[in-house]
């Protein structure tokens, strides 16, 4: 007997969305994928260093338990341990799947997958394709999805922007409204379930390592429709990025995994401060630790390169042909943008906003609190707790898709879906978005949206990154609320009917401002230091009060987030102090 076919909408064509789509196709159902860009241009491709999985091919007796423990410990015990355990157990099979799909992983002389070191782990556990692993994994899934497209089970909506979900009378998600970014037409689409896989909100910080499409707008939109956001204050600052005025370009942790050393001059001599401060892990401490150390050396001790906020990341002692094989792509990028050859001179780097551990609250099966709406990938809050280990993001993105896809089908088949929406209700949802867009087209105030955005980024970068101070966070919150009020006074110059990027940006900006408020408020209220969240006023972890997930709900009256705290499973590995100066 043929199984009933369902229609699932996946928003986002990155690693997680495509993985979910493949699982749905294999189960015989159909997927509509909506994306800002051709899937091959999604932000997953910017992941460089690799993907963690216990392959244990280096004679180090690596184990899945060790991967699990490293991840939980690295995340400062704020991740749901049952979920993390599942991810670590699923990792080796995922690597073998990617291998079969033709990912050109870097191989050993014997032809098996090579492994490299990564931060916060003592064993070699990271499979990689040179220094462009994300690009290669993303392409593999894109190819498989294209195959399903030729079989008619995938329909792609490329250059479409997600605007909001549609709910029926019972509050169940049963479709979306989206806008074509070229023709500007707005349409409503029905679905048996919707999966958001829209990535992180890096752009609310202005300059970051993320792509310009990582604006968190879709997450903010569903948050305003009642979806909870969890742990938003946990924003990873990557220690090694090339500072730039348009963006901070990532310089992979793989540089240190392959032997790169971080230093500055002190008393006229190179000072390898990470190796001195953290003898057990050295340059391979987790990212939150490395970023804080660099910040301290530059900002508090004034030892940055030429007195600026920069330190050296040095590969010049490593043979050039080895570097070419293992790190070629990114070294070329450094030469191209900076005009210096990192094979010969140390690179100059500084920490940058990089990844959001928090996101839409999901259960272990990636259901949000809105029935029929799921979330997976960086836009969800699962797996990484208070700090993500390097090379766990490609893993969590792909793995979460293997969970959210089948779960969406299970919901479609057995969920309590309530009443069907009528054509009238669908049209009503569409018209709401049409009216909103028409209002933006007519805005003729004094403010420039790009200028407002610039101010938002400056505030977020200054007050809500490596070191957080309660008084500053209070100030920052009020300033961002002022930006929200000024949004109403924006004037647009583009009234064009084709590819009106300005009006779309104005709409995204409002969502970004509201997301920023969630991050600031959650950071303000967590009076402890844990993982990426650090307050000098409260320098230690406070398990008694804060071994809890932050939960943010949107208050439609004031537009402020309402912050509460929820329990999660930390029963398998008992929380213990985190100290990278000594071996675990």
């Amino acid at each position: 007997m043929a199984k009933k076919r369902f229609k699932v909408i996946v928003v986002g064509g990155g690693l997680s969305g495509l993985m979910a789509a493949l699982k749905i196709c294999e189960a015989g159902s159909e997927v509509d994928i909506f994306s800002y860009c051709p899937f091959k241009r999604s932000h997953s491709l910017c992941a460089q260093g690799g993907m963690n999985a216990c392959m244990d091919t280096k004679g180090e007796h690596d184990s899945i338990y060790e991967h699990f423990d490293d991840t939980v410990y690295g995340g400062d015990f704020l991740a749901d341990q049952v979920a993390v355990k599942g991810m670590c157990e699923g990792a080796p099979a995922l690597v073998r799947m990617f291998d079969r799909m033709g990912v050109p992983f870097t191989r050993s002389a014997e032809g098996v997958l090579d492994l490299r070191n990564f931060g916060g782990q003592k064993n070699k556990r990271t499979v990689f394709a040179g220094s462009t692993t994300g690009q290669q994994l993303l392409y593999a899934l894109d190819e498989q999805v294209r195959k399903w497209e030729t079989k008619g089970q995938v329909k792609t909506h490329v250059f479409w922007e997600f605007l909001k979900i549609i709910k029926n009378k019972e509050g169940v998600c049963c479709g979306i409204v989206a806008q074509n970014m070229n023709s500007m037409e707005i349409e409503a689409f029905r679905a048996d379930a919707v999966i958001l896989a829209t990535g992180g909100p890096g752009m609310i910080f202005g300059r970051c390592t993320a792509s310009t499409i990582c604006n968190g707008s879709a997450v903010s939109a569903v948050y305003q429709q009642g979806a909870r956001i969890a742990n938003p204050e946990f924003v990873q600052i990557h220690p090694t990025a090339i500072p730039g005025s348009d963006k901070n370009r990532l310089m992979s942790e793989a540089c240190r995994g392959e032997g790169g050393r971080i230093w500055v001059y002190k008393d006229g001599k190179p000072w390898y401060f990470l190796e001195e401060m953290y003898p057990a892990y050295g340059n391979l401490v987790p990212r939150d630790i490395a970023s804080r150390a660099i910040y301290d050396v530059c900002v508090n001790q004034h030892l940055g390169v030429n007195g600026e906020n920069k330190v050296y990341l040095d590969l010049s002692h490593i043979p050039a042909d080895y570097l070419e094989k293992k790190l070629g792509g990114i070294l070329e990028m450094y030469s191209e943008f900076m005009g210096e050859d990192p094979r010969k001179v140390p690179m100059e780097i500084y920490p940058s906003v990089h990844y959001s551990m928090g996101g839409i609250w999901v259960d272990r099966k990636h259901n949000t609190n809105i029935p029929g709406l799921l979330a997976s990938g960086e836009c969800d809050h699962q797996y990484h707790g208070a700090n993500r280990l390097g090379a766990n993001s490609l893993l969590s993105a792909a793995y979460s898709g293997t969970i959210s896809g089948p779960e969406a089908l299970k919901w479609a088949e057995t969920g309590d879906r309530g009443s069907a929406i009528s054509d009238g209700e669908l049209e009503e949802a569409r018209m709401e978005c049409v009216h909103e867009y028409e209002r933006i087209l007519k805005m003729d105030g004094e403010e420039n949206a790009r200028q407002l955005y610039h101010e938002l980024g400056e505030l977020m970068n200054r007050y809500v990154t490596i070191e957080r101070v309660n008084a500053d966070l209070d100030y920052c919150y009020e300033e961002v609320k002022k930006i929200l009020a000024r949004w109403d006074n924006i004037g647009v110059t583009d009234r064009g009917k084709w590819a009106n990027q300005e009006c779309m940006f104005v709409r995204q900006l409002r969502n970004m401002i509201l997301y920023a408020l969630v991050v600031i408020k959650a950071a303000r209220l967590r009076d402890e230091s844990r993982g990426a969240h650090f307050k000098r006023e409260f320098p230690t972890r406070d398990d008694e009060h804060f071994l809890k997930e932050t939960i943010a709900n949107y208050d439609p009256k004031t537009e402020d987030p309402i912050i509460t705290y929820g329990d999660f499973d930390h029963s398998i590995i008992k929380p213990r102090p985190r100290n990278y100066a000594v071996a675990k």
């Binding site: 493949l22 241009r41 394709a129 005025s245 790009r450 084709w498």
Partner: protein, 250 residues
């Protein structure tokens, strides 16, 4: 007081897919390491032309700004390239920006490259795996073959090679260098090899490898340094062998 150093752009614009192209001139302050995307972002903040006219901000496509996503390809001073890594200091001024007209223009510098993704269907650009489930046969691969695949797999479908190729365009149905090199990559994969004949037959058909005129422009245009002409030559050889096989198999 020293005069502030400035940068001048002459940008070819077009309001809609059927609109008439026109140019506008913009002047903005110079700063170190300024690239073309960063300059376009400055214009967004203050979309005023050199002669003081307030206009709609310039429309273009970009994502990663790290030269991996392929989105921001445009014609800069006559050469198709990625705008994010086109450093202003290395370009002759005034800097001319134009859309890559090998592809349909949607608006300003924004183009429609759907055809490139469609061509990946034609060459069956995937490995035919049974499914995403676990199959416990670890495929081994010669590390040298893997290194070649890795080089070709850097192709970001940006379209520089198509824009540079004299045989791609309305006058011909040539699918262009990029998808042909991709076909080679799948063909050398231990599992992809099983579908080699299908890919070669697809490239034997109209608009395939025989439409290549050996101009060699593609390899010079590729921002990723993929040895396109080498792989096109290899495919040409493989297609000829396949053609003979087809005769004898009948």
């Amino acid at each position: 007081m020293a005069l502030q150093k400035t940068v001048t752009f002459i940008i070819e614009r077009q309001d809609s897919p059927t609109g008439k192209p026109y140019t506008q001139e913009f002047e903005l302050p110079w700063r170190p390491a300024l690239n073309v995307v960063a300059a376009l972002m400055e214009i967004q903040k203050n979309p005023v032309t050199k002669d003081g006219k307030r206009v709609a901000p310039v429309v273009w496509e970009c994502n990663c700004l790290e030269k991996v996503c392929g989105a921001c390809m445009m014609v800069i001073n006559g050469k198709a390239q990625q705008a994010c890594c086109a450093l202003v200091d290395k370009l002759k001024q005034p800097i001319h920006l134009a859309p890559a007209r090998t592809f349909p223009v949607i608006r300003d510098l924004l183009i429609d490259r759907t055809v490139m993704f469609e061509n990946l269907k034609r060459i069956q650009g995937w490995i035919n795996v049974d499914g995403t489930w676990e199959v416990r046969i670890p495929p081994r691969q010669n590390p040298n073959t893997a290194a070649t695949a890795y080089e070709i797999s850097h192709c970001m479908t940006c379209g520089c090679c198509l824009e540079a190729c004299p045989n791609v365009g309305p006058q011909s149905d040539f699918i262009g260098p990029s998808p042909i090199a991709q076909a080679y990559m799948y063909n050398i994969n231990p599992l992809g090899e099983y579908d080699k004949a299908n890919r070669l037959n697809a490239l034997m058909a109209k608009g395939g490898i025989t439409s290549c005129g050996n101009s060699g422009n593609c390899v010079k245009a590729c921002p990723k340094g993929i040895k396109l002409t080498t792989y096109l030559a290899q495919i040409n050889r493989d297609v000829n062998i396949q053609a003979l096989k087809n005769i004898f198999d009948h």
